[in-house]
């Protein structure tokens, strides 16, 4: 049952690493880290906060690019180029194929975040030496926790993109659906707060809107749970129970999405 997963994961990982996109993404990350030095020169006081913001946002943004443009293609290419028949002709179930691909993608996300995370560490380390007086509330622990949460968020998003790939015919639709889910997932809790207490900006949402938002709140992943960049940047504490529940939430949503993806994919008819 588990045995065929490993080779598929390894192939997926290798394929992803060979993809030129990953070099582009890494160069982008490097570039943004250099910009970090430029911007921090202009900041008046809260240098540590801005440096951490830029470092973490870079890692999260390049991770998103990886999921959107490498991850989705890895899955879609097999379907487009019909190489999936070669895999499915072997004694591998479709669910095994799906899960194997998923783990390959997880390895890719972890590897790329290690690269980008190390860029971030270098830039933060140097900036901390340069502006020691403005890094008083800086905490490496919070930095690595935020990094871990970004990885979890990317893994969840990958599982969701696999779910979309399991039933849609082209990779473009998967891309659009995944991006939309990402946007909804990140703004959902803010939108929900807004439609439930609309006085703050003076809007009047209809009761149907409120119901739709509340329904979406349960359907889409709440990605803002994984966003602790603000806490990390400002050196605020995150409670241990909050960390535990967030990890469990990520794990549960990923498991549900991936299982559904396997189920739908195994029922799918190939032309």
């Amino acid at each position: 049952m588990v045995k065929p997963l490993f080779p598929i994961a390894v192939i997926t990982f290798k394929e992803g690493i060979r993809n030129r996109a990953i070099y582009g993404i890494s160069i982008l990350a490097l570039f943004m880290m250099l910009i970090n030095f430029l911007i921090c020169q202009m900041v008046m006081r809260d240098v540590g906060k801005v440096a951490m913001d830029i470092a973490l946002s870079t890692v999260s943004f390049t991770g998103l690019l990886l999921v959107f443009f490498v991850g989705i293609n890895l899955m879609a290419k097999d379907l487009d180029k019909k190489t999936i028949y070669m895999v499915l002709a072997r004694p591998v179930s479709r669910a095994q194929y799906m899960v194997g691909k998923f783990f390959g993608m997880v390895a890719l996300i972890v590897a790329s975040n290690l690269i980008q995370g190390s860029f971030a560490v270098v830039s933060l380390f140097i900036l901390q030496r340069m502006y020691a007086n403005y890094f008083l509330r800086f905490s490496w622990l919070m930095f690595f926790l935020a990094l871990l949460f970004i990885v979890l968020m990317l893994i969840l998003l990958t599982a969701l993109s696999f779910l979309f790939a399991s039933f849609s015919s082209t990779s473009f639709i998967v891309l659009v659906l995944t991006i939309v889910s990402y946007i909804i997932g990140n703004s959902l809790s803010d939108v929900k707060a807004l439609v439930e207490a609309p006085q703050s900006v003076g809007i009047h949402p209809s009761p149907i809107t409120v119901k739709i938002v509340q329904a979406a709140y349960y359907l889409f992943p709440n990605l803002s749970f994984f966003d602790i960049k603000t806490q990390a940047a400002n050196g605020l504490a995150v409670s241990l129970s909050c960390v535990g529940w967030t990890m469990l939430y990520g794990f549960a949503y990923t498991a549900v999405a991936l299982s559904l993806a396997c189920f739908i994919f195994s029922k799918r008819e190939f032309p």
Binding site: I39, M42, V43, M44, R45, D46, V47, K49, V50, D53, I54, S57, S60, F61, Y131, N133, Y134, R137, Y182, I183, N186, S187, D190, V191, L194, S200, V201, L223, S224, F226, D227, K229, T230, A233, N234, L236
Partner: protein, 280 residues
């Protein structure tokens, strides 16, 4: 020959490109000056629109305001910054602090420039109250609020309340203790302002902001110097000098210092030293 056609076309269009660049740049800049400060997205909406990059957006807005304000130093017209621009800058800083209420720079900027230059003291204290609420470990927001209450709003009771609050937080320096005692003895407002400014300048990294604050400090130090001379005149002759020239005549000062803002120092009928530039 034919294979050089693309190159020739490229060479032909290169000047057009450069021409457009040199025309469009100033054109857009001129447009921005008229419409640059018009609308600000409300904080809650901005928070949704920036997804999980709200912290980064807060930094961006802050840098935007900083560079906009820095750009006004090149202007020759007076007042240098229009009232609508101050309003806009205040709104943007509010949004920046909505996006990340823990970010210190908007509070710091507001306190450094909205009180002295824009005379938006009440608004500044509203912003600072937010900073004081979220940055509950930080002694500076309540310190700033206390000073504003004392210096601009003349509310000594509230001022000492904020300063007391500030002094209980970690890192509050000795200046607070001496400020509090001076408030009690009704020290000269200029002297307190000098102490306050020295404290603010100490942590300023940005060159433009630092220079602006140092200019203000220098002016206040000169005013304080003249105030001391006026006080000496009072004890010597029992009356208030009619003009600053009287101070020279009495040998209390050698010469009247110049105002770094380009104004002229004078004594009003109550014997208070003022300047025509009003520190702006």
């Amino acid at each position: 020959m034919r294979r050089y056609y693309p190159l020739i076309i490229a060479l032909l269009f290169a000047p057009v490109y450069l021409l457009c660049l040199s025309t469009l740049g100033p054109l857009r800049k001129a447009e921005q000056q008229s419409a640059g400060y018009s609308y600000t997205l409300p904080g809650p909406i901005a928070k949704i629109a920036t997804l999980d990059y709200d912290g980064l957006a807060a930094d961006y807005l802050m840098l935007n305001i900083q560079s906009y304000y820095g750009g006004t130093f090149e202007r020759t017209e007076r007042p240098r910054v229009k009232e609508a621009e101050w309003r806009w800058m205040y709104d943007v800083l509010t949004v920046s602090s909505d996006l990340d209420p823990y970010f210190f720079d908007p509070y710091y900027f507001a306190n450094s420039f909205f009180t002295w230059d824009a005379q938006m003291v009440k608004e500044t204290n509203i912003l600072l109250a937010k900073g004081n609420h979220f940055r509950d470990w930080d002694w500076l927001p309540s310190f700033y609020m206390g000073f504003n209450e004392f210096y601009f709003l003349h509310d000594n009771a509230k001022a000492s309340e904020y300063l007391m609050q500030s002094s209980k937080k970690p890192g509050a320096t000795a200046i607070l203790a001496s400020l509090a005692t001076r408030l009690a003895y009704k020290a000269s407002r200029t002297e307190v302002a000098i102490m306050f400014l020295q404290q603010t300048i100490e942590g300023t990294k940005d060159k433009v902001e630092r220079e602006a604050l140092e200019k203000r400090l220098k002016t206040l130090q000169r005013i304080f110097f003249l105030e001391n001379a006026v006080a000496a005149y009072k004890t010597k002759l029992g009356t208030v000098p009619g003009s600053l020239k009287d101070l020279i005549d009495q040998g209390l000062v050698k010469r009247i210092p110049t105002d770094p803002y380009g104004g002229v120092f004078f004594i009003d009928k109550d014997g208070v030293v003022k300047t025509t530039s009003d520190l702006r």
